[in-house]
Amino acid sequence: MADVIQLRNVSKTFGEVRALHDVNFEVHSNEIVGLLGDNGAGKSTLTKIITGYHQPDPGGELYWKGEKIEHLSVQKARDLGIEVVYQERALADKQSLWRNIFLGREMSNKWGVLDIAGMKSETRKLMQTVMGFTSSAITADSMVRTFSGGERQGVAITRALYFEAELVLLDEPTMGLSLTETKKCLDFVNEIKNTGKSAIFIDHNIFHVYPVADRIVVLDRGTIAGQFMKNELTLQELIDRLYLVAQTGSLAEKGEAR
């Protein structure tokens, strides 16, 4: 299987703090990778390096489909097809739904004049098809701060879908969602798999990650403590091993995985 993205010897230091330490990480084509780890394990830092928000320390290398990427920026990452579904903080509360869908990537002519009619009609189409917003109370002009948690997550997810990402990063997408909303979110992850795209699913909650992931990577204190294919072990074994990580900092028993 070819790699969509590959990180080689990536470290990230913030002042005195080393958030990531020589991380080697890759996502294969059409693979869902579950990224687990406690608070401060380096999950967000790793995410932000892949999305071009942070630059890795010198020596770290990024490859996109086998080609080396120098100085990845947020814009460049989006152009490549890397899309992030952040927690709800990624929405602009006081702006309308259509503005949120096209955030930072507005439809415009070459002079930068917005195509408002175009964006609104695309938004309406997405509302009916992808988002499943049936309530007549929500229009393309509705302000997103009146939306529920699930509706907001739907907006963020739809944004990623609409722009046809090759690699979708989901940063704790189920946080604060109700049961049915969580199910909808997990269905979306399965949908990514079915359409042949790849995803990185970052979460605390192994009960959400385990069912949808092909491979599970465990981060601990800035290093990859271990990784394994889902079919190698059951959910119960995974839980036992995560306790082991919390205690020893290592996931694998001798001779296994890494």
């Binding site: 947020v74 903080r89 006081k94 309530s135």
Partner: protein, 337 residues
């Protein structure tokens, strides 16, 4: 989870309302400010019909309100990004000082005018650098540059003014301050042009979309690849340019440049932006609101004089307007959440 349930309720209520209610909801800020304007106008009309039924008071509005409206309109952009600029009164005089230097050296009004606008943009750019590159809160940074530029003006001019008679012979004079039909001053036309252009860039251009996004959720803006620093800096540059332009218009209209020029414009300009409904927290605001609010502020000034009250009252009332409109925004903002 409880916040989710609370948020869902008002939505189902709006579903029952018609398109008229939806229009009222979308444009509530604009409708509100127009109602305020009409009420104040009726009050003044009832209180002093002689003054407010005469043509002269409206001619006076149209000539003096643009002095600060020209700055309040672009200042709306800075406030929407979540920043503030308090240096514009000094930048008005700084631009004219640049005019003074270049005009005295070359004798060319045109070169002086260009120097004036460039000086304003430079001052705005400096504010932008202090805020976005160095990271000083704009409130502090622009208080600093306010005193700095005023000081620079005083040092350079040595407190001496400049007669603007030479400008009368150039196209700039009729172009900027001519009274059309002896009634409508050109600066009023320029104010409308400013309002239309700024409105266009705020609401129909990528730049405006990024201005709103930057003020609404700066973290999200960065994550979505918006160049937040450049967007903010550009808004400061526009205010600097507008302040220099306004300084030129004022000096030309009075045919004299006073180095203390701008001192009286701080409060009425800020009051116009906040009364116009632009959120002090950023992310929200309209050019239309600021435009109407400028004329409300102008009318209040005229009303105070017409009512026979001393000029001391103006500061009290402007200060009161700023506090009340910002308080109202805050209370309404909490209710929406």
């Amino acid at each position: 989870m409880s916040s989710t349930e609370q948020a869902a309720r008002p939505l189902s209520q709006t579903a029952q309302r018609g398109p008229l209610a939806r229009f009222a909801r979308t444009y509530s800020l604009q409708i509100g400010i127009v109602i305020v304007a009409i009420v104040i106008w009726l009050l003044f009309l009832a209180g002093s019909p002689q003054t407010f039924l005469s043509r002269n008071i409206y001619a006076a509005f149209m000539s003096s309100t643009p002095y600060f409206a020209l700055m309040a309109i672009p200042l709306t952009l800075v406030v929407i990004t979540g920043e503030i600029d308090l240096s514009f009164p000094s930048v008005m005089a700084f631009g004219m000082t640049a005019f003074d230097i270049v005009f005295t050296a070359t004798g060319s009004v045109a070169l002086g005018f260009i120097a004036c606008l460039l000086a304003g943009m430079l001052a705005g750019y400096l504010n932008g650098v202090l805020v976005t590159k160095i990271g000083i809160p704009s409130l502090v940074a622009t208080i600093g540059t306010q005193f700095f530029w005023r000081g620079a003006v005083m040092v350079i001019t040595n407190g001496q003014g400049l007669g603007m008679g030479a400008v009368q012979k150039t196209i700039l004079y009729p172009g900027l301050v001519y009274r059309i039909g002896g009634f409508v001053p050109m600066q009023f036309i320029w104010t409308i042009i400013f309002a239309v252009v700024v409105w266009f860039f705020l609401n129909r251009h990528k730049f405006g979309a990024h201005v709103f996004l930057t003020g609404d959720n700066v973290e999200s803006a960065k994550l979505m690849g918006v160049n937040v620093g450049r967007t903010k800096t550009l808004t400061f540059v526009i205010v600097g340019l507008a302040a220099a332009f306004a300084g030129f218009v004022v000096s030309e209209d009075l045919l004299f440049f006073w180095p203390t020029m701008g001192d009286g414009y701080m409060l009425n300009t800020l009051a116009s932006v906040f009364l116009g409904g632009t959120s002090v927290f950023g992310g929200m605001g309209t050019v239309f609101g600021t435009f109407v609010a400028c004329f409300i502020i102008g009318a209040i000034n005229a009303g105070i004089v017409a009512a026979g009250m001393t000029g001391f009252w103006t500061n009290l009332i402007y200060g009161f307007i700023i506090v009340v409109s910002v308080s109202l925004q805050t209370i309404m903002g909490k209710r929406l959440r």
